[in-house]
């Protein structure tokens, strides 16, 4: 079953430009997300990749109504996501945050933090709360004996694992992780990500992962969406896209990513210019055109949208030349 389905999701933030500007009707906005579509099946891992300013974090926050979308439809388990009560929705979809150091309340012991979540959502009867806390800590590789410790007793990587335990405590069907391991050492990242994938399988969870790290994206996902300036420019099966990238941006992105193998001599596709701010973007035409090596006049005037590449619906590209 399709767990999460997003259609035409848009999120704009008003930019405060002052009284006079507003009077003259020129109200500028930060166009963080511009009508994106994606779907996540039960148990599937979907990653949104992109560089800064592409809107990937805003996209998931809006999809899950942590922020209210400007437009678009989001259905969760077949129902409009807005029809869920806040409490119910949060028990179904949990978020793992990027900041590992700060993700736990410094004044609460880690056991308490997890127990609170369990109790609030009535996941198990009171007698079994302790047992569940211990079980969850074990599953993330933290000794249950440490549950009375405050977060300051743990390292960044451990805190993030505890945060994962806390998220799993409410028995969600969807886990959303926004760069959960950035800043941690590579081997710590590996340990946490392996465990995350194991837990995903054990609990049958769907996973939405947000990152700019292509190496992680490849291993962790089944499906991937490449974002640029508020749009998904390429979408589909992860191996297919990595092996056969079609959108010029995806190609540039993959080519720019250094490969740890000096024997491979590759020519990097180097894009001109910086990543623009998502402000004052034309509604019509391709947002990547200004930097695209293959751009033409037509690109700035065409209707855009994800289309299957060569008829393959598991590989969709948003480019008039594909």
């Amino acid at each position: 079953m399709t767990l999460l389905e997003v259609n035409g999701l848009t999120k704009h933030f008003p930019l405060d430009t002052g009284f006079l500007m507003n009077l003259t009707g020129r109200d500028r906005k930060v166009q963080a997300v511009n009508g994106i579509d994606f779907a996540v099946e039960e148990g599937e891992a979907f990653t949104l990749v992109g560089e800064s300013g592409c809107g990937k974090s805003t996209a998931i926050m809006s999809a899950l109504h942590h922020q209210t979308p400007t437009a678009g439809e989001v259905t969760f388990k077949g129902h409009d996501i807005a029809s869920y009560s806040k409490k119910k929705l949060r028990s179904e979809a949990q978020l793992i945050y990027q900041d590992q150091q700060d993700t736990l309340n410094p004044k609460m012991s880690v056991g308490e933090a997890i127990a609170e979540a369990i109790r609030f959502h009535d996941v198990v009867p009171e007698e079994r709360v302790d047992e569940r806390v211990d079980d969850l800590l074990n599953r993330v590789g933290i000794a249950p004996g440490d549950k009375r410790q405050k977060p300051s007793a743990f390292s960044g990587g451990q805190k993030q694992r505890i945060a994962i335990a806390r998220a799993l405590a409410v028995d969600p069907s969807l886990l959303v992780a926004d760069e959960p391991v950035s800043g941690l050492d590579v081997s710590v990242q590996a340990q946490i990500l392996n465990r995350l994938m194991d837990l995903q399988e054990e609990f049958g969870l769907a996973l939405v992962y947000v990152t700019h790290n292509l190496g992680i994206a490849r291993k962790i996902s089944d499906k991937i969406g490449v974002m640029y300036l508020g749009n998904i420019v390429e979408y589909g099966d992860v191996d297919e896209i990595f092996q056969n990238p079609q959108h010029p941006y995806t190609q540039a992105l993959l080519s720019a990513n250094p490969v740890p193998d000096p024997s491979i001599d590759r020519d990097r596709i180097v894009l001109e210019g910086s990543i623009p701010d998502p402000i004052d973007i034309d509604e019509v035409g391709c947002h990547f055109a200004p930097r695209c090596p293959e751009a033409s006049e037509e690109c700035t005037t065409s209707e855009m949208g994800l289309e299957p590449f060569e008829g393959d619906s598991s590989h969709q590209v948003d480019c008039i030349y594909r």
Partner: protein, 368 residues
């Protein structure tokens, strides 16, 4: 990649310790490495491995309670560890420059970019004002910053991350240094912007012949950009040599493990490879090899003997691992290989230098 020149910077047996109430933190312990003219040397390691401390030690930026307790850093015939503050200040920004990870904190938000670059020129050269500004525009152009005369009037916050980093590089190259020390200069930048900077730096290096020591945690960057590399673990450079050689056949178990764990987008595997365990406490290093507890190839002797640098493929490929016992050891200014330096017995700096001084000179003489 490039034909290297003569040795420019010769780091020999450098140890930097930080004294705390509970003992010495051995941020760097017996490190050796040589940078040649025009060479790009990558330094990789995880956090706490000592990469940044190494750069700071080279520049003489170690402050109380840290000090260089052992070793030497030869630069154009002078030992940097013995120079006075004033002498070091003359070198910094002039012969040896430094760039950091966050360009925005490196640049002063209160001054225009042009002011900051001309400042560097003012401090180290005898140029007239007009000349300084000419040179500034030249530099900005060299770094591919469009409309240099206009952009020189801009403030740092008006630049994007990638552009700001270019400004920092311009400042660093202003006085035509021989050596550029870069501490994770592209780690804070987006991938496509990083690609621009990497390309640019390689071009500059070709044109200007400046040597670069590039500290990073990204193996991909090392593979694609660097000529030689040093792998650091727990305050030690455990392996050092040509990038192609090391990637093809790593001689230290940590290097091998590290290369295995790097996730690349070209990997098709399902799992992330990892090294079990975690790095040791720099205040409580084990006797013997620092990597023994996590090393899949550890032997008996690894827990009692501290390995010296063995020459595992000519004198420019070094590995600190007892697996290579039998190979010639690299001459160094620290004591003989069998000595275990425990925390209380850190050798008095003066003694070793006077002893080891001769050995180093002879070795250098041999190279010339």
């Amino acid at each position: 990649m490039n034909a290297h020149g003569d040795p420019l910077l010769d780091i020999d047996g450098i140890s930097t310790h930080f004294q705390t109430a509970s003992g010495a933190v051995k941020a760097l312990d017996d490190n050796s490495l040589t940078v040649h003219e025009g060479e790009i040397v990558g330094i990789v390691g995880e956090s706490g491995s000592g990469k940044s401390t190494l750069l700071r030690t080279i520049m003489g930026l170690i402050e109380e309670p840290g000090e260089v307790v052992n070793g030497s850093i030869e630069y154009r015939g002078r030992d940097l560890t013995t120079l006075s503050d004033e002498e070091l200040r003359q070198l910094r920004g002039n012969d040896i420059s430094l760039i950091f990870q966050e360009p925005t904190s490196h640049l002063n938000p209160a001054y225009t970019v042009g002011d900051q670059i001309t400042d560097v020129l003012k401090a180290h050269t005898e140029m007239e004002e007009v000349e300084r500004w000419e040179r500034t525009y030249e530099l900005l152009d060299l770094l591919d910053i469009p409309s240099p005369e206009d952009r020189a009037e801009s403030y740092p916050h008006e630049f994007s991350g990638g552009m700001a980093q270019r400004v920092c590089i311009a400042m660093a190259l202003a006085c035509q240094p021989d050596l550029l020390l870069a501490d994770e200069p592209t780690s804070a930048l987006d991938v496509t912007i990083q690609a621009q900077i990497l390309d640019l730096l390689q071009e500059l290096q070709d044109e200007l012949g400046v040597a670069i020591v590039w500290v990073t945690h990204d193996m991909g960057v090392v593979a694609e950009t660097c000529d030689t590399m040093g792998v650091m673990y727990a305050g030690n450079i455990v392996e050092y040599g040509d990038v192609d050689d090391i990637f093809a056949e790593p001689k230290h178990p940590y290097t091998e493990a590290l290369l295995d764990t790097v996730p690349s987008h070209t990997d098709e595997g399902d799992r992330f490879d990892t090294i079990e365990g975690s790095p040791p406490d720099l205040q409580n290093l084990p006797q013997g090899c620092v990597f023994q507890e996590r090393c899949p190839k550890a032997m008996e002797s690894c827990s009692t003997h501290r390995p010296p640098y063995y020459e595992v493929g000519g004198d420019d490929w070094l590995a600190k691992c007892l697996l290579h016992d039998g190979q010639p050891t690299h001459p160094s200014s620290t004591s003989a290989p069998e000595t275990d330096l425990s925390i209380d017995e850190a050798p008095n700096r003066d003694e070793t230098t006077s002893d080891g001084g001769t050995v180093v000179d002879e070795a250098l003489e041999g190279k010339r």
